[in-house]
Symmetry: C2
């Protein structure tokens, strides 16, 4: 009869050790297929353990199917001889390190912000308040479109701050803009033609197949895309960022907007997707009216994010859908759960309702405005401007620097790295490649620049091109 040396069990409970021994013997064939196992009582006596220990081990083996039982006959080993031996992997796993982030003197890429500006104690207070006040609903399943408290807060904010009239029922909360794009394009047929400007959102173009769309890059000029090309390309959806066209930062003029509306209103299934991702940051005049507010016929999908205005690590974005698409979303995608935890939704609603969000936006706007002035001044006084010019439109957190040079991208990039600068090129963001020889355009994102580094940053950048 089978027996085991229970002294070898180490720290494991007796029954677990016994279970494991029997299991391994069945897997290895040491206990033959269909072999009868000793009765619990006999086995317990033999091993000098309690009957419960054997009973627990047998129960586990029964639930996992290593044993089967026949009434009044006892327990038998399952026949598994036709399968190759399996090994159960229980080695201790490794632990990983946080990836070493290169600590650049300056990183010009987007999505970097100056972290000191985030009002962490206020956010903390909102989190606490959410937890204290949220009550039961804080722990329940999140409605597919987000909690009503946050949708109301966003609607009220958009009215106060942007003059937008938005029914909260049309607002859909999601974990980031990319995620919402994905959901949005699920509302259209696969392979829907989506138009972007030639200097448009490169990520959409590069990953069009992931979004199940065809991207049509539409030619155009400084004033925007050539609307007649939409007709020729059988386009159903147009993607634009009218308040701050990326990466040039230009506003889409009203005439072009009206042309787009004319195009959209001509057929039922035509929509304009308006990405308003950093419209909050504008340094002269008031904020630009979104196309959403100019639309009379429910054709504009409006998207915005808190990752840009708050911190990149906060994954909360929203989209506002026209009636037809909101209905379609509910019917076809309403089965998906919302991807943002209620905790953060409540905290953000509190942050907005208490006025902290608007105070934060104003503070950031002033901060960026000062940064911008200081940086532009530093550039203007630098030698670099003998061979470079700046294009900027009082908006966003970056501008373009067009440098007359024969150096190639790779050289410039590597020289940047040598000087601890992470250079960002216009062509990183645009589907349009630069045509003109002898020029290279850099994107100077200054959201993360620290003011006492400005002089040094411009000096190092100048040295790359003019040493």
């Amino acid at each position: 009869m089978i027996t085991y040396d229970l002294s070898k069990r180490g720290k494991e409970p007796l029954y677990v050790f016994l279970y494991r021994q029997i299991r391994d013997d069945i897997l290895s064939g040491k206990i033959a297929p269909n072999e009868k196992l000793p009765s619990k009582r006999t086995f317990a006596g033999n091993l000098n353990v309690g009957v419960n220990t054997v009973a627990n081990a047998y129960d586990q083996l029964l639930s996992e199917g290593y044993l089967y039982s026949a009434e009044k006959k006892g327990y038998f080993a399952t026949d598994m001889h036709q399968f190759s031996d399996i090994r159960i992997n229980t080695s201790e796993p490794v632990q990983i390190e946080s990836p070493e982030e290169t600590d650049y003197f300056m990183d010009f890429r987007a999505n970097r912000i100056n972290l000191n500006n985030f009002p962490i104690s206020t956010w903390n207070r909102c989190m606490r308040k959410a937890i204290l006040d949220g009550g039961d609903s804080l722990y329940k399943t999140v409605p597919y479109n987000g909690i009503p408290e946050l949708r109301n807060a966003i609607s009220a904010y958009l009215f106060r701050n942007r003059g937008m009239s938005v029914n909260p029922e049309r607002i859909f909360i999601g974990a980031g803009t990319e995620f919402l794009f994905k959901r949005l394009f699920e509302l259209f047929d696969k392979g829907t033609n989506v138009a972007i400007e030639k200097t448009g959102f490169k990520k959409i173009a590069e990953h069009a197949d992931r979004y199940n769309i065809n991207v049509k890059v539409i030619p155009g000029d400084d004033e925007g895309m050539d609307v007649s090309a939409l007709h020729n390309n059988d386009v159903e959806v147009v993607y634009v960022a009218p308040a701050n066209r990326f990466p040039t930062g230009k506003v889409l003029p009203i005439k072009k907007r009206l042309e787009l509306f004319s195009w959209a209103y001509k057929k039922k299934e035509r929509f304009i997707v308006e990405d308003d991702y950093d419209s909050e940051f504008r340094y002269s005049g008031r904020m630009i009216i979104p196309m959403f507010s100019e639309d009379n016929k429910e054709r504009v999908v409006y998207l915005n994010t808190f990752s840009k205005t708050m911190v990149p690590s906060l994954r909360i974005s929203y989209m506002i859908l026209p009636e037809e698409l909101a209905k379609r979303y509910k019917e076809t995608l309403g089965f998906y759960s919302c991807t943002v935890s209620s905790f953060e939704q409540y905290a953000l609603a509190e942050f907005i309702n208490s006025g902290a969000f608007e105070r934060h936006i104003n503070r950031m706007r002033n901060f960026y405005k000062k940064q911008r002035v200081a940086i532009l001044k530093e550039f203007e006084n630098s030698r670099l401007m003998k061979i470079a010019e700046i294009e900027e439109h009082n908006a966003g957190t970056h501008f373009l620097l067009r440098v007359k040079t024969d150096l190639d991208r790779e050289y410039i990039y590597n020289e940047g790295i040598n000087k601890e600068l992470h250079i960002s090129f216009f062509s990183d963001y645009s589907v349009q490649s630069e045509k003109e020889e002898g020029f290279i355009t850099l994107v100077i994102n200054y959201a993360a620049i620290v003011s006492d580094k400005i002089h040094e940053v411009v000096t190092r950048l100048t040295d790359i091109f003019m040493n």
Copy 2:
């Protein structure tokens, strides 16, 4: 010359009022296409305002494209006569109410939990600690696969608690299991054949086209799906919940697992998706070994969620990918940002590392175990058992109640509503419809039942079938 009554401006800044008046007059044609506007100085004198007020209004109109300027000639209205009038919608939006949730005496659906059990103060402490200790990395862009701290914490937990050996580099954090399914199926060709058991996860089957897969419902018996049918159906991926097959709660026996491994190992592109969604809740014996640990050839995708073990409102799930798929994920989907905010990832890592998660799981397991005993006892002592039987397997937070009756679903459901019970049917969860006449199977999810309601719940349920 145009003029405006500035006394009508209400609370708006002067320049905004002026901007709006001019804009509306250009849109309506009152200011003719290409009409020259007065110089800033003249206009300011006429209106009796500062030059800056007019300059600000003109600047805004210029950025939005309502005006254009010609050097040394002045400002002109843009020609928009070919477009129909647009109205800018600025009416105050409505606010919505939280949808009235019907307050059932008892709701048998899954995804309901007893909210009193969540250790809110500990969670709160972890959130605070995350904010205090997280430092800069808390505010930076989240790595596409989740923060290393959380992936390490999950790996260590799985080893301590389940004996699983998991490289944290293979762990991918996402906002909910549905979301991860979506990402997972993006790793396969469109239209990949995915097999589920006939009593399997209905949501996948119903929304297969949303996941870009073909679902093959595979026949089988109590012991699991008929593996030979996988070959006939050209299946590439098998979805199983081996620790607790939904909704029956049965364990997938080792023999069936080995058959599935044999099938998977025969071809390179075959994978087993193991959904371990509530394996933590098992009331007899130790937890069931996941197929992930039995796999020797990197073919098992393991999925689990914190929405079930913590609270449904927390949208954090994870999947563990085999080497090949992890590589593919990084290459093809690595461009997507992670969908879970760092704040909650840090807090959860702290919650796990401090041992609070395991204490919570143990507390919940004991709580559910007691609930289960009390509820089963109540059922067993009820009149209902004359016409009903229970199927349960010491696991999960629900069992099946098979009632001999000729009543139809609709009647039973409505009678339930009359008695303030939200009834849940086996057929709500299973792609298999009940074949046998004269029986109906209910899913009794008891996670949310309050103990002093148990007697009344069973009485009301009995009354539906036996009054």
